[in-house]
Symmetry: C3
Subunit: 112 residues, 3 copies
């Protein structure tokens, strides 16, 4: 299993969620973050205002997936999150050793 | 070492913290999140109100542990977080290559 | 590639950011967290006030780096975050299987 994390533009969250549902994802976790990428010192637009790129507000989306689904899920996120303007985000995948579904105690891919 | 992450019901945080102390855990990190699991489109109860499951508030708990302690710590979290109702949460473990305790510079399991 | 996560004292964020820039890091993600380490039950100072160590406010900094840069980046964070007082923080590194830069679709180390 993999944990896929995406740090995206906040206004893209709904499109990313829709794309993940279409991709068959069963759950996700969302949280607030901020950050910068390669344009530190330049400006990035957020809600119509120009931000000196320091810590621009972003949304983090995390998805636990089966190994075989990881590439498709990453692709779905990237397509949905892309605007073509700087600051569109990063997506990364980390290996997961174990998953448990708390209510049922199920483990492994069945726990997703 | 492993990083164990649990996304649980917020009102279960105190019980999970107590269970982790009993399990001998030396530290933990808490943050806010929201999410959904397999019932997207149905309803989940939070603070007595029914939520159309979209992004229900959850708490994230992260614990760095020695490999040998990982299974016990996961079990302790699962037992403490379980209510038997939908939305009880997910717990997962990721491999950790290195840990440093900032104040002392210690590394590896002694840094936990 | 590695994902380096640091949970540090909030007032140290600017020094850690400066140290990461000096170390050549191209981007980072910041979020809010709270936690405790080994002094649970004792007190830790935050903004001049003593906190019974339970959940003391911290800042989480995450940096995606190339494998060859991981040790230097960890060192830079540790040096910048250190005050010598309890609660200075933890830094850990996790293996990363894949990274994508959303705007360009680049993957791997070029995506950082
Ligand atoms: N190396 C990194 N480590 C951790 N987080 C990063 C890193 N680079 C970017 N991020 C996170 O992703 C967000 C978006 O990054 P961004 O899209 O600006 O990357 P970029 O490489 O500068 O691409 P672009 O040139 O399209 O802006 C940042 O605000 C930050 O939260
Ligand atoms: N596949 C997933 N990836 C990332 N986070 C997830 C995933 N599934 C669930 N979560 C997180 O865990 C929280 C709780 O999930 P939940 O307990 O509803 O899982 P479930 O599989 O639907 O189990 P149940 O049937 O008991 O509700 C969600 O709100 C979300 O934050
Ligand atoms: N085992 C752990 N798992 C997850 N997070 C941890 C762990 N230990 C500490 N943390 C996080 O790091 C923060 C800082 O920890 P802290 O510096 O107090 O560690 P410590 O080992 O007690 O070191 P010190 O003796 O210098 O205080 C905590 O508030 C918590 O958020
Ligand atoms: Mg950028
Ligand atoms: Mg559910
Ligand atoms: Mg401490």
């Amino acid at each position: 299993m993999k944990l896929i994390t995406a740090v995206i533009k906040p206004f893209k969250l709904d499109e990313v969620k829709a794309a993940l549902e279409t991709a068959g994802v069963k759950g996700l976790t969302v949280s607030e973050a901020s950050g910068y990428g390669r344009q530190k010192g330049h400006t990035e637009v957020y809600r119509g205002a120009e931000y000196k790129v320091d810590l621009v507000p972003k949304v983090r989306v995390e998805v636990l997936v089966d190994d075989v689904d990881a590439d498709d899920v990453i692709d779905a996120i990237v397509k949905a999150a892309q605007t073509g303007k700087i600051g569109d985000g990063k997506v990364w995948a980390v290996p997961v050793d174990a998953v448990v579904r708390v209510r049922t105690g199920e483990t492994g891919p069945e726990a997703l």
